[in-house]
């Protein structure tokens, strides 16, 4: 039973979500938003599990003085410093501790992590954009042209060519034609993959996420 009931739930929920797309009549008409809201609620509650996992791991690190345990104190302090004001004291209003930490700790680190991409894009292109094989050469040439076409320098290099044949035009063509075709093929294949995987999940063929007994 422990194994069957989840499979039945998966099947019923999956079929309901498919059927609601074709039937506007109630109760199906409002099923989608109800299921999505329910999903959000459960996922939000489930976050407690994650927070417990995180806390347990780091409390244990501190308790057994594992390597780098000092940083675990920082982590837990950050978690508590955000959660306690955010949920209880003053909530998420402007000017509170939550807001201060959000603006001056969360946001700057988020943006900085994101900005590391500028460095990694440079190092990855230095390393990977080399004409080792025919495939790599194609990658390189397409990437190079689009990169140049996006900057004023590209058109300056090709200013002797007529309008329509300059670097930015070639870049736009690559984006519009081969890029679109490639993306579309990937999307269609992935779409079929999603449909087939979802079918297997709904029918209980793919069930590894449920674990053993």
């Amino acid at each position: 039973m422990r194994r069957e009931i989840p499979l039945i739930i998966t099947f019923v929920c999956g079929i309901t979500m498919i059927v609601q797309f074709f039937i506007p009549h109630e109760p199906f008409g409002s099923m989608k938003s109800y299921f999505q809201q329910s999903y959000m609620i459960i996922a939000a509650f489930a976050m407690i599990l994650g927070i417990c996992n995180l806390t347990k791991l780091h409390v244990n690190k501190i308790r057994y003085k594992r390597p780098h345990w000092g940083y675990s104190i920082v982590l837990l302090a950050g978690l508590a410093g955000m959660t306690i004001p955010g949920l209880f004291v003053g909530a998420i209003k402007e000017g509170g501790i939550f807001d201060f930490l959000f603006k001056n700790v969360h946001v700057p680190m988020q943006s900085t992590m994101f900005s590391l991409l500028a460095f990694f894009v440079a190092s990855a292109s230095y390393r990977a954009f080399r004409a080792r094989t025919l495939d790599a050469a194609l990658l390189l040439v397409a990437g190079f042209i689009v990169m140049l076409g996006r900057a004023p320098i590209g058109d300056a290099m090709t200013s002797f060519l007529p309008e329509g044949g300059q670097m930015s035009d070639v870049a736009n063509w690559i984006m519009a034609v081969p890029n679109t075709a490639g993306q579309r093929a990937i999307m269609m294949g992935a779409g079929l993959g999603v449909v087939a995987t979802s079918l297997r999940v709904i029918l209980g063929i793919e069930r590894s996420y449920l674990g053993g007994d």
Binding site: D99, S111, A118, A122, S125
Partner: protein, 285 residues
Amino acid sequence: MAPEAKSGIVDRLRNIDRRIIFIFVAASVVIPLMFPLGLPLKSSPPSRALFQEIESLQRGSVVLMAFDYDPATEVELGPMSLAILKHCFRKGHKVVGLALWPQGAGLARATFSEAGSDYNVKYGVDYVNLGFKAGGLVVIDSLGKSFHESFPKDVDGTPLEDLPLMKNINTYADIDFVMSMSAGDPGLPFWIMMAQGRYGKKVGGGCTAVSAPMLYPYYPNQLVGLLGGMKGAAEYELLVGEKGAATKGMDAQSIAHALIVLFVIIGNIFYFVGKRRAKRGGGVI
């Protein structure tokens, strides 16, 4: 994978320590920021069109501005929002701000206060910040029925009835121009679909450089004007005549970009030189 045995300068350059690349990248951004080169900048038609639209609105027109972005994309969309807001305030337009992204409400607050500092504008009279509401497309649609029902209170919890500006605004009919500063979903495509498609409002706005190609096809039929990425922001600053963060960033943008192009070229040169040497020496790469 880990660099193979090091021998000779070519090999060393081929497997250059990436930290050296990082230093170059950092320098190519910092130096132009500190010592601007003032590389020439031209405004593109979609940017000019947006500028013209706001320029041609009558004094006292109401502009809706959606802050549909978060801190991660603020670098591109923040300067745009600021330049547009300054432009609106200068022309005497009223601005209704809202956010479809949770963190957009806070960014809107900061942008409003920065833009308003140079002009004699008053909260509640010249601009309001309605704050964030979850739901994306549904929210945009619900504004067609009633602003007051969708956003009963503003970002600070003040009831809309207590804000003089909101007394006469209830549906899209009371709005003259709709704009979205859009970092993704929900964003401009939704505004075009609903506010333009269903309610017939003029829609314009800005987006990140990454999403610009997806949005350009809407211009000029469904989008009045569009600012794409930091370049779009710099163009708008140029049009408004308020040089700001984006203008300063454009030099750095060009230099860093050129640097990466250079890296790709150098990388290939060393690769081929190394390959030929290896062939001659019979070594294995």
